[in-house]
Symmetry: C2
């Protein structure tokens, strides 16, 4: 595929341009924000690179669209996509990042950080023995690039890590992988449940009352997408101690509105969608690597399957 | 060595006795507390097993003393020891425990847990990119059983881990090991400094003004002994930003007195000596294993070198 004219749309245009310059690519670039992007730009371009598509805008004129994020629901979810347009996504340190994010909150739990902080504020010396990770059970929804990396990190501590995927196909990093329609028996035993699923029709509203009724006192971590969680059902599950605590990095509406009850819940930790940030350098490295593969028609590991939606 | 009569002194006598029963050992036991232990008991016994020795009591009548803790400063530090009495210590999951303890606080730091908690309390959505562990530098004082395990855990995340020991002898888990008298160049680059050293004449008051003057904005974790740290020098080092934060599990006086300024310092985390707890089961397993080796005169990995003090 011949790619000469490229549009880059991002809030971090300057950083991206600076890193791109190092590569000295013999291409024409238009660096734009979502506000300044026009249909004329898309008419001009061979390729578009950004975090999502602009509503009511026709992207079918470009040959290739590259997502600056790992998730591509900003391109595909509840939207039509012309299958003639190649869609690729950024794959970089996301797995490691989400793995360290999840591990940090699981360790916070077993090491009783909060309890010790409370005791310190009252000058109370009361030993509690931290639990070792070994033997704890985690269930990870999503066994792709990211889920595998998270599983590898947790398994290294002797945790028993089960995976849940559409197909249930075994993956080396997991103790076992179950298909999503038979996950019930697996999550009964879980100490921690981690969502890394992409948002698709199958995964929207997936973490709901029915699911939470099958677990007991879990730590729930959502590093996937906010639309996969039914917010009110999580609140109920916390009330019923089906969920002991939740760590949420993604939300139905971002920024999370000030009126949302999650903010003030003592057992919910909120982080502002930072578990898998694309740094400018990593984004550019992945984009340039993908560009070269697109041009020389090599295999693309990061090509999106439009029908699956990830 | 023939061992028939054994004294066990511990605040958790009941748990120890329960686990010991499973082994069905053909030995005589006296389960005592430090208060009820007499010279007559020591006269009677072949072996003594406990956390420390009672002041002004002669232990030289027994053949073997086994420490229920990993540290043996309760037996040797500032005290005489009859070198004819074999001294062994408990070695079990201490390394893994201290490793997970240290990792939990390092991850808390790079994942900005505190900042996000503050933002949540004010309903502020302000993304900060967590840093990956890869490339961060840790210096671990002590390259024994515990230091090696901690190093292995941190290295697995791509951290560059330097060790400091008396001899400077290389160990596989460390990027490099420096001798304690030439540690200056190593700690200049450190992001995190972790103490796992035993308390000996060499390590008393070791973390002082002179040491802290060589570092910049480190995270300091003390999982060794409280007497190795000069408390007022740490307070000054925090003031001067030589130390960015400290996590302290051990103190000169335990429980830490309510009047101590550590309690209220915003950049000090206090935990009540829990980073390497001996569970009753682990303590018994290690004791019985050592007993068998003592009786059959096998090599003892956990024999204490009286002159070195660990």
């Amino acid at each position: 595929m011949d790619i000469q004219k490229i549009i880059i749309v991002s809030p971090m245009i300057k950083e991206l341009a600076a890193y791109l310059e190092h590569y000295n690519l013999d291409k024409e670039f238009r660096y734009l924000t979502e506000d300044t992007l026009t249909e004329d730009d898309l008419e001009w371009a061979d390729a578009f690179c950004g975090f999502q598509i602009k509503k009511n805008t026709d992207y079918s004129k470009v040959k290739w669209v590259h997502s600056l994020g790992a998730g591509v629901d900003g391109f595909l979810y509840s939207q039509d996509w012309d299958e003639n347009v190649l869609l690729t996504r950024t794959v970089c340190s996301f797995g490691q990042r989400i793995g360290e994010y999840c591990l940090s909150y699981i360790l916070k739990d077993v090491q009783a950080h909060q309890k010790f902080a409370e005791q310190q504020s009252e000058k109370v010396w009361r030993p509690i023995t931290p639990e070792l990770l070994g033997g704890k059970q985690a269930v990870i929804y999503g066994t792709g690039e990211i889920g595998q990396k998270v599983a590898g990190i947790l398994s290294a501590f002797g945790m028993k890590v089960q995976g849940i995927s559409l197909s249930g196909k075994p993956k080396a990093e997991f103790h076992q992988v179950a298909a999503i329609d038979s996950h019930g028996s697996v999550i009964k035993e879980a100490d921690y449940v981690i969502n890394t699923l992409p948002l698709t029709d199958n995964t929207a509203d997936f973490f709901d009352k029915n699911l939470f009724e099958q677990v007991r006192r879990i730590g729930f971590i959502n590093a996937g997408r906010g639309n996969s969680l039914v917010d009110t059902d999580l609140m109920d599950a916390l009330e019923k101690e089906q969920v002991r605590f939740a760590v949420l990095d993604v939300f139905r509406e971002e920024p999370l509105p000030a009126s949302h009850p999650f903010w003030k819940h003592p057992d919910i930790t909120i982080t502002p969608h930072i578990s898998a940030v694309t740094t400018a350098k990593e984004a550019v490295d992945c984009f340039v690597d993908t560009l070269r593969r697109v041009e020389s028609e090599q295999v693309l590991e990061n090509k999106v399957d439009i029908r699956k939606g990830y």
